[in-house]
Symmetry: D3
Subunit: 316 residues, 6 copies
Amino acid sequence: MEQHTPLNQLRVNDEVQGFYLLKSAYAKTNKNGKPFLSAVLEDAGGSMDAKLWEYDNSTVGEQDAGRIVYVTGTVTEFMGALQLRINALRLRRPEEPVDLAALTPSAPIDADAVLARVWQLVESIEDADYRAIATMMLQRREQDFRSIPAAKSVHHGFVGGLLMHTANMLEQADFLSRLYGPIINRSLLLAGTLLHDFGKMKEFSFSELGLVTEYSTEGQLLGHLVIGAEWVAAAARKLGIPEEKSLLLRHLILSHHGEPEFGAAVVPVCMESELLHLIDKIDSRVEIYRKAFEEVPVGAFSSRIFALEHRVYHHP
Amino acid sequence: MEQHTPLNQLRVNDEVQGFYLLKSAYAKTNKNGKPFLSAVLEDAGGSMDAKLWEYDNSTVGEQDAGRIVYVTGTVTEFMGALQLRINALRLRRPEEPVDLAALTPSAPIDADAVLARVWQLVESIEDADYRAIATMMLQRREQDFRSIPAAKSVHHGFVGGLLMHTANMLEQADFLSRLYGPIINRSLLLAGTLLHDFGKMKEFSFSELGLVTEYSTEGQLLGHLVIGAEWVAAAARKLGIPEEKSLLLRHLILSHHGEPEFGAAVVPVCMESELLHLIDKIDSRVEIYRKAFEEVPVGAFSSRIFALEHRVYHHP
Amino acid sequence: MEQHTPLNQLRVNDEVQGFYLLKSAYAKTNKNGKPFLSAVLEDAGGSMDAKLWEYDNSTVGEQDAGRIVYVTGTVTEFMGALQLRINALRLRRPEEPVDLAALTPSAPIDADAVLARVWQLVESIEDADYRAIATMMLQRREQDFRSIPAAKSVHHGFVGGLLMHTANMLEQADFLSRLYGPIINRSLLLAGTLLHDFGKMKEFSFSELGLVTEYSTEGQLLGHLVIGAEWVAAAARKLGIPEEKSLLLRHLILSHHGEPEFGAAVVPVCMESELLHLIDKIDSRVEIYRKAFEEVPVGAFSSRIFALEHRVYHHP
Amino acid sequence: MEQHTPLNQLRVNDEVQGFYLLKSAYAKTNKNGKPFLSAVLEDAGGSMDAKLWEYDNSTVGEQDAGRIVYVTGTVTEFMGALQLRINALRLRRPEEPVDLAALTPSAPIDADAVLARVWQLVESIEDADYRAIATMMLQRREQDFRSIPAAKSVHHGFVGGLLMHTANMLEQADFLSRLYGPIINRSLLLAGTLLHDFGKMKEFSFSELGLVTEYSTEGQLLGHLVIGAEWVAAAARKLGIPEEKSLLLRHLILSHHGEPEFGAAVVPVCMESELLHLIDKIDSRVEIYRKAFEEVPVGAFSSRIFALEHRVYHHP
Amino acid sequence: MEQHTPLNQLRVNDEVQGFYLLKSAYAKTNKNGKPFLSAVLEDAGGSMDAKLWEYDNSTVGEQDAGRIVYVTGTVTEFMGALQLRINALRLRRPEEPVDLAALTPSAPIDADAVLARVWQLVESIEDADYRAIATMMLQRREQDFRSIPAAKSVHHGFVGGLLMHTANMLEQADFLSRLYGPIINRSLLLAGTLLHDFGKMKEFSFSELGLVTEYSTEGQLLGHLVIGAEWVAAAARKLGIPEEKSLLLRHLILSHHGEPEFGAAVVPVCMESELLHLIDKIDSRVEIYRKAFEEVPVGAFSSRIFALEHRVYHHP
Amino acid sequence: MEQHTPLNQLRVNDEVQGFYLLKSAYAKTNKNGKPFLSAVLEDAGGSMDAKLWEYDNSTVGEQDAGRIVYVTGTVTEFMGALQLRINALRLRRPEEPVDLAALTPSAPIDADAVLARVWQLVESIEDADYRAIATMMLQRREQDFRSIPAAKSVHHGFVGGLLMHTANMLEQADFLSRLYGPIINRSLLLAGTLLHDFGKMKEFSFSELGLVTEYSTEGQLLGHLVIGAEWVAAAARKLGIPEEKSLLLRHLILSHHGEPEFGAAVVPVCMESELLHLIDKIDSRVEIYRKAFEEVPVGAFSSRIFALEHRVYHHP
C-alpha cells in the first residue's frame, strides 16, 4: 500500500507523493486566460490548499470532488499558511489499494465501544415490542448506522457521525427517563431516539469514502423523516407489533424536528416526541460548538455560524 | 319510517314531532340555578335553535352532539327568529328507522354523476402504472370517497364533500394539462389529485351520519398527508409499480399543502406538486366564498372568516 | 386551629365550615338583576365551585381573590359535579391561625431533601469563584428559593415550584457535564442554572399564601433576566470575583430564554448558555405534560395548551 | 442588413462578424493590472461568453448593457464551453439597420394568433361595461401589451412575455368561470385578468430591444398595481362606467399579489380577486418550471431558484 | 331644545329624561326567557350602562347603535357603579332639535384655533405647487377635515380627531425640517402630512353624529391610502402641477404605513416618506397613551392594549 | 509633523508621501501566484484605492486595518478613478507625530458648540434627581461621549457620531415635551435620551483613531443596553436617587430598540420609552439618507441599503 504522509505532519519544502481525498477542485483562469487548478486536499487529520499551475482540462476536474487522487508535489508557504504546489495529479486507479481510514475524517470516538454501548441500551428497552423493532432495524442496517455521517456539513458531517450523534442522544434519553420516572415511556423514547435519523441512510448520496456528497432524489422528494417512518411501519408489520406502538414510533420520527418550519412533518404532541426533539437539539448544538472550538482560539469569537445565525464565543 | 318535517318548512305555532340531528347541546342554568338545555337541531336543509326548559340530567346531554334525537315540541318566535320549545327529547333507538339522507347536510351535487365523471377521468390516465394505482385505490375505498366530508368545518364539511372537492380539482388538473401541454405529466397530476386527500378517511372520526366529529388519534399523530402517502406506497408495492413513480406520487401527496407552515411534510419541487397545491387552494377558496354567500346578502360583507383571516364581499 | 376538611374528601350533603383559599370570585347578576357570587375555592389537594346566592356588595368580592376566607355551607351536586352552596362567607381575620400548608397547592416533592441535593450540587462546583457566588446568593435568598412558584400559571405555578424546577435542571446540567466532558465548563453551567430564575423573586407579586398574583412594576419594566443579572453583578463585586466570570454568568442569565422573541435580552453565544436554555426548555415541557396528564385520561388528547400552541396526547 | 450568424450555430474557429445584443459587460483587471472586458452576448436563440483582451476605456463599457454592438472575433473553446475572443467591438450606429427580432429573446408563441385569441376572449365578456373598458384599454396599448416582457427576469422576462402570461391566465379565467358557474362574475374576472399587469408598461424602463433594464422612478414610487388601478379609474371615468364596477376592477388589480408581504396594496376580498391572484400564481410557476427545464437535464435537480426559494426536480 | 343632564353629573336616584347617544344595545334574555335590553349610553363627557327590563322587540334594538335616543329612567347603583334603569326609550324624531355637540365625544382641542394653525402652516409651504395642491384640497374638504375622527377606535376615534392628529404631525414636520435643514424638502413633507389621511373621509361610514360606524365598501376594496393618492392625482392634474411632484406626493400617501404588513401599498423610499411614517407613529402612540392614562390610575398598569400588543404603565 | 496631502486634493501623477489611515488591506495573488496588496487608504475627507505590486508578507498586512501607515507612491488612473501605486508602505512608528484629526472621518458638526448645547439641555432638566444623574454620568464620560462613533458602519460611524446623534435626539425630545405638554415627563425623557447609547462606550473596541473596529467581548455577551442600564443603576445608588426613578431610566435604556427582534431587552411600556425609541429611529433614518445622498446623484436611486432593506431615492 502506497505510503501516505498525513497532511498535518508536512513541513515547508517537503516532497509529497501519495493518495489524498480531493475535497474540492475549481478550474480558474490566471494571466492571459491560462487555466490552473485550485484544490483542497483532505485526509483523516486535516486539510491543505493545493495549486496545479500547469493545468489542462484532460485531467482531474471539478466533477471529481469527493474522490481519491494520487498527488506529487512540493510544500510551499503562502501568506503564512502551507500550500502544496502540485507537480502531477491523477485519479486513483481501481486496482490501487489505499488505507481509506487514513484519508477520511471520522468521528473522534472508539466506534466499537460506542456501538457496543448502543446495543447495551437497546437491549435494556423494557417493552418487548419496542425492543424487537429497535433490534431488528439496528441489525439490518448496523453497517450504515456505524459509518454514515449525520449530515453533509452542519454537524457530525464525518464518518461515524450518525453513531456518535445517536449514542449521545441515547445516553440523554436514558438519563431523562431515570430523572423524571414513569411519566416518560423509556422504551418508546429509546427506540425513537435510536431510529430517528435512520432515514438519512437513504436521504443522502455518499462518496466512495462514505462522506455525504448530495441529497438523493428520494431524500429531496420525501425527506429522511418520512423515509424513516416508512421503514418503521414496514418493520412493525413484519414483526406483528401492535399498530398503536408503531404509530407512536412513527410519530416520534416524523415530528423530531420540532417545528414545521424546521422540517417536522407533524408537531410533537407526546412527552417522548417533545423530548426527542430537544435532546436532538442539545447534541447537535454541542457538536457545533465542539467543531467551532477546534478553530477558534480561547478568548476569541468565531465567525458567523450559518446553522446558529450567530457567532460563538470560546471563553477561557 | 317516522314522519319528519324539514326545519326550513316550519312556521310559528307548528307542532313538531320527529327525528333530527342534534348538532350541539349545552346544559345551562336559569333563574335560581334551575337547569335548561340549549340545543341546535339540524337536518339536510337547515338548522334551528331549541330550548328544553324542564331539563334534568338523566336525558340527552352535551355528549350526544352528532347523534339523532326524537323531539316533540312547538315552534315559537324569539327576537325575530324561530325557536323550538321542546316538550320531550330522547335519543333515537337503534331499532327505529330514519331517513338519514333527510337529516344530513350534504354536497349540492348529483353524487352518481360526479362519481361517474371521476371514473371517466381516472380511466383517461394515459400512463398504465398511474392508472392502475388510481383505479385500485378508488375501487377499494369508493364508498368512503363518495361519502366523507373533506373537513370538519372550514370547507366541504358535509357528506359528499371529498367527492365534490376532488372532482372539481380533477377538472382543473385535466384542463391545465391541456393548456400547458407535455411539460405537465397529466397522468401523475391526475393520479395525485385523485388521491391527495384519501388520508382524510382515517384522519377523522365520523358520527353515525358520516359527519366529522373529531380528529382520530392517527390523524393527530401522523396527519392525512403521511397516511395517504403510506397507502400509496403499499398499493404501489402490491401492483409492482416502479419505485420512481410511487415516489413521485407520494411526493405530490406529502407536499400538497405547499408550505411547511401549512402542514406540508416536504416542499413541492415538481411541476405537478406545485400545481396540485394551487388547484387545491383554488377549489377550497371557491367553496369558502360559496358558503359565505349563502349567508351574506348581496352588497354586504361577511364577518371575519377564520380560514381566510379577513372578511369577504358579496358584490352585486 | 380551625378544622378544615380537604375539598377532595367532601361528599354531597356534607356540611362545611372552615378556611379555604378564595381562588377567584365574580359578582354576577341573577333573575331581576339580583346579585350572587360565583366563586372557586381551593386548597392543597383540589378545588370546588361555590355559589353565594344571597349576596350583597358589603362582603367578600372580586378584589379578594388570592386571600383566605372562612366559609360555611352545604355540598350540593350540579350537572354531575360537586358544588358548594355557601351560607356565609368572610375574610379570615388576622388573629385567626390557619394551616397555610393545607390550603396551598405546592410542589409534589420533599422540599427538604431536594434543597439538600441542591446544596450538594452547589458545593460540588469545582471553580472557587463560581462556587462562592452560588453559595452566597443561595444563602441569602434560600427562603424565597425554597418557596416561590416559578410562574403564575404556565408551569411550576405552585409553592416550591422554583426549587423543583431548578433542582431538575441542575441534575441535567450535572449529567451533561459528565457526558460531554471538559468542553463544558461545569462550574459555570451549574452556577448559571442555579441562579437563572432568581430574578423571579422580584419579578412577581405574591399573595399571602406565596402564590403569584401579578407581575411587579420592576418585573414589567426590567424583567427577571435583567434583575437576576444585576444581582449577580452586585454579588460578584462584593466577593471580588474576576469580571470575566461575572460577565459569563450574567450572559447565561440574560440569554437563557434563547431567542429575543421569547424574551432573551441577548442571544446565547456560549456552550453553557445554549445548554442552559435547552435544559430550561426540557424541564418546563416535562412539567407542562405532567400537569396535563393529571387531567387528561390515558388514550385521550388534552384541549389546546396555550404555552405549547397545540394539544397533548396522553398515550397508553 | 448586416449578416448575423445565430450564436447557437457557431463552432470553434468560426470567424464572427455581426450585430449582437450586449447582455452584460464588466471591465476586469488581468495580470499587472492590465484591463480586459468580460462580456455576454445574446441573440434570439442563445448566449455566449466573450472576452476582449486588448481593452481601453474609450470603447464600449458596463453602461452599454442592453444595447446592440457590432463584433468581430474568433470562436475559441475554454473549459469545455465556447467563448468568443473579440477582436473589435463598437456600438451599433443609429443608421445601421439590424434585424431586431433575430437579436432578441422572445416568447415561444405565435404572437398574432395569441393576440387574436385574447381579442376573442375580450369580445366574449358579457357585461357591456367591463367589455368596454377592456376593449378601450387594450386598443390604446395594444402595441405595448403585445411586446413587453412581464418581468426583468423572474418569469416571462422576454419580448412578448406579458402577452403570453396574460393569454394563459385568460384561458384559466374562462375555464374556471365555466366550471364554477354563476357564483363567479366572468366579466369582472376576464377584464381584471386582462388588465392586471398593464401597469408594468410604466413600471419598467426598457432597452431599445424592448427588454426590461430597470424599474422606472414611477415604478419604484407607486408600483404597477397602483399605476394600473389609476389607468382603470381614468378609463372608467371617460367611458362613464358605474363607479361600483370601476371600484371592483381596481380592487382586482390592487390586490392581485394576494398578500401585503408580496406587494398587494389591499387584500383580495372578492371571489374574483382571490381567483385572479391564484391563476397569476399558477401561470408564473409553470413558466418558472418551463424555463428551468430548458437547462436542467431529465432526472436532475436545478440549482436553487431564487423566486421559489428551493430547487426544482426535472423528473423523467 | 330638550334639557340634557350630562352623564358624568348624574347621582343615584336622579330622575333622567333627555337625549343621549345609544353607543350600543344588545337584546338579552332573563329568567324564563324574558327579554330585556342591555345598553350603553354616551354623551360628550362620559358613558353609563343602562337596562330596560320591560323590553319588547318593537322598540329600539341592536340595529340602532350610533343613533340618538330619548330616554326616561332612574339612576341606580350596581356593584359599585351607576346604572340607569330605563323606564322608556325611543329613537329621536327628525323634528326634535338636539345639541349634537353635547352628545358627541370630541377632541380636547379648540378646533378653530387648531384649524387656523393648520392654515398658517399650509400657507408657509415654500414650493408654490405643493402649496397650491394643499390649499385646494384643504379648502374643498375643510368641513370633513375639521370634523371626522381619525379612526373607529384605536386612536383619535372622536369628532375632530383627524384635525387634532394632523395638526400635531404638521408641527413635528415643521420642527424636523428646521432641525435637519435642506436635506428635507419641507414643502413636500408638509403637504404630504396634511393630506396623508384625507382618504379616511371616504374609507369610513359615519353615524349622524359624525362618529365612525364601519368601513365603507370603497374603504375595504381600496383603502384610504389609494383613495387619498387618487384624489391627489386628480387635484394635481387640475392644477397642472408637474407630474414629478404629484408622483412624490402620492408616494408619501401610499407608503405612510411604513411596512406592507401594516398596510403600506409601497415601501417608503424617500427621506420625507420615511419621516411621514415615523411622525404618524409618534402621534398615534402619544394619543394611545393619553387615552389610556384617562382610565389608569398613576402607579398602575393598563390592561393589554390591542393596538400595542402590550400593557402600558402610568408611572408617577 | 510630516506633511499630509488630503486624498481628495490629489491628481494624476502626483507623488505622494505621508501618513494615512489604512482602512482595509487584502493580500491577493496575481499572475503566477505572485502576491500583491490591495488596500484602501482613508483620511478625514475621503478615501482612495491603492495597490502595492511588489509585496512580501513581512510588511503591513490584513491585520493592520484601522492603523496609520506611512506611504510613498504615485497617483495613477484606472477605469476612470484615481488609484495609488504604492512604492513603499510601513506602519507609523510610535515616536512619529501625526495630525490624527486630519486622518479621521468625523461628524460634520462643531463639536464644541454641540456639546455646549447638550449641556444646556441637561441643565434644563427640571427634576433634580434626573438632572443629577445625567450631569454626573456626562461629566465622568464626557470625553468618550464627545468622540466615539455611534456605530461601526450603519449610521454615525465616524468620530463624534454619538455626540451628533444624541444631540439631535435631545432636540426632538425637548420639542415633543413642549408639543404634548405634561403627559410627557420631560426630565425622564431628556435624561433617558442622553444616556440611551452610553453603553456603546464599552460595547465596541476602538482603533487608535477612535473608530469602531469590532464588538468587545462585553459588548457581545451583554449588549450596550444592559451595560448602559448597569451604569445607571450604579450611578443612581451612588447619588441616592429614589429606586423608582432609577428603574424608569433603566427601563428607557433597556427598551429603546423597541422590539425584542431588534434587540430590546424589554418592550417599552411607558410614554417616554416609546418616544425614545421613535426619535432614535428618526435620527438614524435621517442620517442613513444623508450619507446615501452624498453618493447618489439627484434623480437617481441608491443601491440596496442593508439597514433599510431597500433602495433610496434622491429626488430632485
